[in-house]
């Protein structure tokens, strides 16, 4: 895992998935969670390095709907906070 200070983070556009807006896309660069969640994400085909598009994300605390590998997946907010995305230009 690479640790970065906040300035660097901004410049390379790293964000938790939960903060992405509908329509934004990016690449998963890290999954900062425990063994169980990471495993569940891997099971459904979500891995570090994968590209995804956010289809829907609301401010209400509901799940984030993403499109990944041609499949729509709803991810709980708590989970989305632990997935770090590198935004596409």
């Amino acid at each position: 895992m690479i640790s970065l200070d906040s300035k660097q983070k901004q410049s390379i556009r790293l964000l938790p998935l939960s903060q992405l807006l509908s329509g934004q896309s990016g690449k998963i660069v890290d999954i900062t969670s425990g063994w169980h969640l990471r495993r569940r994400l891997n099971q459904i085909g979500i891995h570090i390095g994968d590209q995804l598009v956010v289809k829907r994300n609301t401010v209400l605390g509901g799940p984030v709907l993403i499109l990944i590998h041609h499949c729509e997946i709803a991810l709980g907010k708590g989970m989305a906070e632990k997935i770090i995305i590198h935004l596409n230009e």
């Binding site: 495993r39 709907l65 041609h70 729509e72 991810l75 907010k77």
Partner: protein, 660 residues
């Protein structure tokens, strides 16, 4: 299609005795890949197929005959991968390790090929001959994915067949190929991981193979599972699992150090990378075809309109079911009341024989009066919502709210089913992965007034006190369920980071599939709950014949006194345990009149109904709770409902008179 297959109508259980003589073929695939649809197509309707990921948790077997040869076909639960984590995966792993499977049909949703190939690669490690079925070819086309199946076939060295199972396309060819491959007995190739990982895996495999001598287990598979530190697998292999684990530790650490990730992640990344590579080799992706499917979600999943549509859809659903139910219920009840008159005339009404027969007929009638008018339309409606693909979207919409309670959106589905019958509702908790979630969802589901309790609410409160009173019971019930759910979730804290749920594309429902599924769910009720209903009814009839009711009333007098109800309604509460809706008829019998208000005050009617709605699940529900969650949890869930009923009933005794 049916020209080729001759369904064997023998009972499923029969398959177990004759399996030795037939090749055993299993269907394995990810949730919602159309496995069950495929199975049903050839085996007759026995497996529940839905547009909700992960509905098949138990497996279904069938005999199939093709060109004079019989084989056993088994539909295994849908699993995303072979890393243990939930019951479905563990059951599948165990099945593949223990049974002598002749061929695996790996069913793949062609529109999700990249992701699905990970499971394919993992399955290949089991060393069982395999065939790849690229299902939902039409869905792939809609998403703009074109697959070169010949190329895929040669890369994997495995037969691939394209099908559209729900339209019956390609299934003949699939099974012809299955037969060729069964005869060929060609084990799948092992996919090579990147050099370092591969050498570690092979190292461990060679260390493990002498220890594994007596197990039917490929050493390479054991090595991978040991590196993954798969808890289920280690338990499965114990005691030699511990010995092997000692061998692995050093390697596992080395692997983790070299790759900067834990070993299980390294392996997972290997499968993922290989699957993605394969996908890129064989698939061309064009722009997806815009269709009503994508546009519909702009409304149904909209952060504002989504909830408006949700309320409208659910309200319309419940009103329709209720209207249809009350319309159908009339003739059934009058038919049986005519019959019971004939019975009374035929036998002397004081004889034991009369009571025995009458009790059984009542049980039969009670079951029928629930099944036909309420359960059937309810399950049919649910099946429709499910097959279209609305349920996962519903779970998505409510997830934010449910999450604040400490649960997932998915936990709502069993609760909604609970409005039909608690038995299928508890079966439906299988879609939840954690034991804690299943327990909480089950408790919530049994508190939901099922169609039998609906009859009491409408027959008693609705009839004597009016619609608003009946509605207020539903409202109170809903509030209590939410509070109980939240309370349980808070008191059993578990680090559930939230839901991960696939939102499948909308599908046109198939009529055959709808009815088949409804029938399968009704079977849960008919085979499990109905016999209990009949026996319960018989017991009750005998209680009244031997005049045991006075003892029971005395026994229950503390409860009736607490609730401020006359002691002679005590017996009806026992009736409620055996058959919820009987409480209503028995109340009138115990009171000796159909004019309930002549004896009970409106508040007492309300308290009685509240108590009956909340307290102890009926015997059939208790049975299924025990079977699904274990008896300890079944007792705990029942205790919760009894305490709640007492609490709410007693509070109602003092609060209700203010309004009525």
């Amino acid at each position: 299609m049916s020209s080729v297959f001759h369904r064997n109508k023998r009972k499923q259980r029969h398959a177990r005795h004759t399996r030795k003589h037939h090749p055993l073929i299993v269907l394995v695939g990810q949730p919602n890949c159309g496995k069950s649809t495929l199975f049903n197509h050839v085996a007759g309707y026995r497996s529940i197929s839905t547009n909700f990921p992960g509905t098949t948790v138990h497996f279904t077997e069938s005999h199939i005959q093709l060109d004079g040869t019989t084989f056993d076909l088994v539909d295994l639960p849908g699993i995303y991968s072979l890393n243990s984590g939930d019951r479905a995966t563990e059951e599948t792993m165990k099945y593949l390790l223990e049974k002598r499977v002749s061929l695996i049909i790996n069913v793949v949703d062609a529109s999700l090929l990249g992701r699905s190939l990970e499971l394919t690669l993992q399955l290949m490690e089991y060393g069982i001959p395999m065939l790849l079925c690229l299902n939902m070819a039409d869905e792939a086309e809609r998403k703009g994915i074109v697959i070169d199946s010949t190329e895929l076939s040669s890369l994997l060295q495995m037969s691939t067949v394209s099908t559209i199972a729900n339209k019956g396309v390609g299934i003949d060819e699939l099974f012809k190929q299955v037969f060729r491959d069964v005869a060929f007995k060609h084990p799948p190739i092992k996919f090579k991981m990147t050099r370092h990982v591969e050498s570690v895996v092979m190292n461990i495999a060679s260390l493990a193979s002498p220890v594994l001598q007596n197990e039917h287990l490929p050493p390479r598979l054991a090595a991978i599972k040991l590196l993954e530190d798969d808890p289920y697998f280690l338990k499965y292999l114990s005691p030699i699992g511990d010995r092997l684990r000692g061998l692995v530790d050093a390697h596992s650490k080395k692997l983790a150090e070299a790759h900067g990730q834990p070993a299980d992640m390294v392996l997972s990344a290997e499968y993922h990378a290989a699957a993605m590579y394969l996908f890129e080799q064989v698939a061309t992706v064009r722009a997806p075809i815009k269709s009503w499917r994508t546009r519909t979600d702009d409304f149904l999943m909209h952060p504002f309109w989504g909830y408006i549509f949700m309320t409208a859809i659910l309200l319309a659903f419940f009103v329709l079911v209720f209207k249809l139910g009350s319309f159908l219920e009339e003739p059934i009840l009058s038919f049986f009341s005519r019959n019971s008159e004939i019975l009374r005339n035929a036998f002397s009404s004081n004889s034991l024989l009369y009571h025995t027969i009458d009790g059984m007929v009542q049980g039969l009638a009670g079951g029928l009066a629930i099944i036909l008018p309420y359960l059937l339309p309810f399950l049919l409606g649910m099946a429709l919502l499910e097959d279209i693909g609305y349920l996962p979207r519903l779970a998505y919409l409510v997830d934010g709210f449910m999450h604040r309670m400490g649960l997932h959106g998915t936990a709502l589905i069993p609760a909604i089913l609970g409005y039909g019958c608690s038995v299928p509702a508890i079966m439906a908790t299988r879609i939840l992965s954690s034991a804690r979630d299943r327990f909480i969802a089950s408790v919530m589901a049994i508190l939901v007034p099922c169609s039998a309790r609906m009859m009491i609410i409408f027959g008693l409160v609705g009839f004597y006190l009016g619609g608003i009173a009946a509605f207020s019971i539903y409202l109170l019930n809903l509030v209590v369920i939410i509070l109980v759910g939240a309370f349980l979730a808070k008191s059993m804290p578990e680090d559930t980071p939230g839901m991960i749920m696939e939102i499948p594309s909308y599908q046109w429902p198939r009529l055959k599939n709808l009815f088949a599924k409804t029938w399968l769910r009704m079977k849960d009720f008919i085979l499990f709950a109905w016999p209990i209903l009949i026996v319960g009814s018989l017991v009750l009839s005998l209680i009244s014949y031997f005049h045991y009711d006075q003892y029971i009333n005395k026994l229950l007098s503390p409860i009736t006194a607490l609730l401020g109800l006359p002691a002679n309604v005590g017996i009806t509460l026992i009736f409620g345990v055996l058959r919820k809706e009987l409480s209503l008829i028995m109340l009138m019998q115990a009171l000796g009149t159909t004019d309930v208000l002549a004896i009970l005050s409106p508040a007492q009617v309300m308290v009685f109904t509240l108590f009956v709605v909340f307290y102890f699940p009926c015997l059939a529900t208790f049975g299924i709770l025990g079977r699904e969650l274990g008896w300890k949890k079944a007792v705990l869930a029942s205790l919760i409902s009894i305490i709640l009923a007492l609490l709410i009933g007693t509070m109602g005794r003092f609060i209700v008179p203010i309004f009525w």
